[in-house]
Symmetry: C2
């Protein structure tokens, strides 16, 4: 089958996939620095797997050691990411053939795909191409997602930092609300990411402990929204504490299973407003209880806030990148480096390889035992799990202009060798 035999020891291709995080570039740094140390050149695919399909590749050797090191503290996806799921080999053989064509043309012998559930699935499919299409490619999945919903791994790189940002923001905004509550805002609602699982909302619970400490109410997508209980809890909190901080997961649904955000607010054109749960809850509080409210919806700010990243998270993100290269170069295939927790206190972890087949297309739910019985807060078990993940700071260097010194890579394109291909 091999028409063009490799003339070198081969190259490693790295690609970022799905929603980016504050630390996915730390993984990229782990990948590139480790590969460089082992003498293997690294290409990156521009915009994830699409770059591989389009033969839109980046030669990472054109960026300096300092630039690659700076990826460790730069948020976003330095090579571009994508939302694109490969179909099965049967359903879209042309795409797989194209991938092999691109790999062969550029002597790609190792492919590292950095993403969530869907990306693990893509990585698994590609890992099987070697046998199916007669080209020797080893494929490693690299974990990443703020959603913290990958199977097997104890936590997902990216989650710890959004968790830390959310806990800090909850604490800070609550200090503000506490100051003003006598004559102004009594209820503050922070809407956080989490369409299917309440991991990020749960992390807000780390901002305080005890009935009077914020957040006073957490709303999880795991529970159907109970309007009566919610309003009663808001009222009781305001009457006892003087004010109330609510942290709500965007994915909160009513008992009919509809997203509350969509069931409520309509925009100027009558469309359901996405990402707008907070104003729906705020309006409810105002209508039924008469309290003055404020609400916040940090959206991308929460997952790009590298300036407030967790040290543990940044270290784990780097470590999975490093491990992925080692696994690939040591001959492994179809695995993902996962984080294994060996101790809660002191927190200890290590990286181990796990078959992608155990991870692809699965979703880790938050344990029921992490949500308090009343449904509005987290349990001691949740605290034990979450607390270590936001520990330690990973400060960014700041420029003289007062802004974080984030790097923009040159991203020099590799000369194309093939005909264009439209995925």
């Amino acid at each position: 089958m091999r028409t063009v035999p490799p003339r070198s020891a081969g190259r490693l291709l790295y690609a970022q996939s799905g929603g980016v995080t504050a630390v996915i570039n730390a993984t990229a740094a782990g990948v590139i620095e480790t590969a460089r140390a082992r003498g293997v050149p690294v290409y990156a695919a521009r915009n994830g797997i699409l770059g591989a399909l389009r033969e839109d590749l980046i030669d990472t050797s054109k960026d300096s050691r300092a630039a690659i090191a700076a990826l460790r503290h730069t948020p976003g996806g330095a090579f571009g990411s994508c939302r694109y799921k490969l179909k099965s080999l049967e359903a879209n053989q042309a795409e797989y053939a194209r991938l092999i064509e691109v790999f062969r043309a550029h002597d790609i012998r190792w492919f590292l795909y950095n993403g969530g559930n869907d990306s693990a699935d893509t990585a698994l499919k590609i890992s099987r191409l070697g046998k199916a299409m007669g080209y020797d490619i080893r494929c490693i999945g690299v974990p990443k997602t703020v959603d913290n919903d990958l199977a097997v791994t104890d936590c997902c790189p990216g989650f710890g930092s959004v968790a830390k940002y959310t806990a800090i923001s909850t604490l800070e905004a609550s200090l503000d609300v506490a100051s003003m509550a006598d004559t102004s805002t009594k209820v503050f609602i922070l809407e956080v990411m989490g369409r299917h699982a309440g991991w990020i909302a749960a992390a807000a619970g780390l901002a305080g402990d005890g009935a009077d400490a914020p957040p006073h109410i957490i709303l999880f997508p795991e529970n159907a929204f109970d309007e009566v209980a919610f309003l009663a809890k808001v009222k009781a909190t305001v009457e006892r504490v003087g004010w109330c901080t609510v942290v709500a997961s965007e994915g909160v649904r009513n008992s009919a299973g509809q997203f509350l955000a969509e069931a409520g607010t309509r925009d100027a054109f009558g469309h359901a407003q996405l990402g707008g749960l907070a104003p729906v809850l705020a309006a409810l509080v105002k209508e039924k209880l008469g309290y003055k409210y404020h609400w916040a919806l940090p959206d991308y700010l929460q997952r790009s806030a590298r300036h407030a990243a967790s040290k543990v998270d940044a270290e784990q993100a780097y470590a999975v990148g490093k491990a992925a290269v080692d696994y690939a170069l040591d001959g492994m295939n179809a695995v993902m480096p996962v984080i294994v927790r060996t101790s809660d206190a002191p927190y200890r972890w290590k990286i181990l390889p796990t078959p992608l087949a155990r991870i692809a297309n699965r979703e880790k739910k938050m344990p029921r035992g992490f949500i308090r019985r009343d449904g509005f807060g987290i349990t001691a078990a949740a605290r034990r799990y979450l607390a270590p993940l936001i520990r330690g700071e990973a400060p960014v260097p700041y420029g003289k202009d007062g802004l974080p010194a984030y790097v923009r890579l040159k991203n020099v394109a590799v000369t194309r060798k093939l005909e264009p291909f439209a995925p």
Copy 2:
């Protein structure tokens, strides 16, 4: 008139007013530490002027040196703030009489009121009580407001930190959007505070410079919203850059003078949604241009983000507190310490006293020359003014739990001596 002659050298009363900031407590630290060094005891009024009226006073001597020092890095208002404007002496003589009664009962000889325009007006009224009501009280206004709209002072403590937070957030979220634009979000809208003036939105402009750098569009309340020009600019930016970051001041109005936020989205009950300009703009972009969008509304997060505060801002906040005490104890009355810029580059500033009469009830607008001719960005003059204000970091100490070590004061109440009074 004096029925109870003072038995001591007198006390200083400090109160916080209006919306709080990331650094108003640094001003409190400046006040308390300076007064302590000069041997003058400090009471704080709980919840601003209301605490003075209610005789709800806090003895700051009950909090340790370390606790007071920690105010320097703790956001929110440590003693509580309020939104409450004293009427004129003629309109509500009872309240002024009550203030004098409370001052006299607790031997308050100096009153420092830390706030914005309204608070400067309150401070001015109280400064005139001495003569009007025969009690020797000196009153100093202390500047604070994220709105940056106080007259005379070059800038307002609190603004530099929200400016820095906004510039950092714009930069970080833009790195995220840039990564995803190929297959996902193309337009990101960040809504910031600024009902009447675009100071905070303007500060977002520091995140980048040049036509292709974010933010690509800033919407100011100073300009009537031009839908056609806005959409054309969004479209041109997406076509040229691949994506577009918009920063919009909450106070943007249409040509009829209505807030765009209120003219658009209605909540589930048909009420106009306040603070919801971003979803209105996002819906417009989607409807007219078809681009996928995300939007963020950080609300209180922006003004309480002490973890990302500006060093210059934190220093100025402390300095105005210190100066206010010195002015008061040195016999001044009816003045405010203001920040005078003596040089742009290198940035140099000093604190000088200015009569409250020049500040009370005035509003500093953003100069027209700070907004670019096309209306969608800031000028070089704006950069010269804004850039120094976000320079330098003022890191917070973090606890082992990974959260900023913010202080909660004991806030021990002073024993009441008077009958209750309901303001």
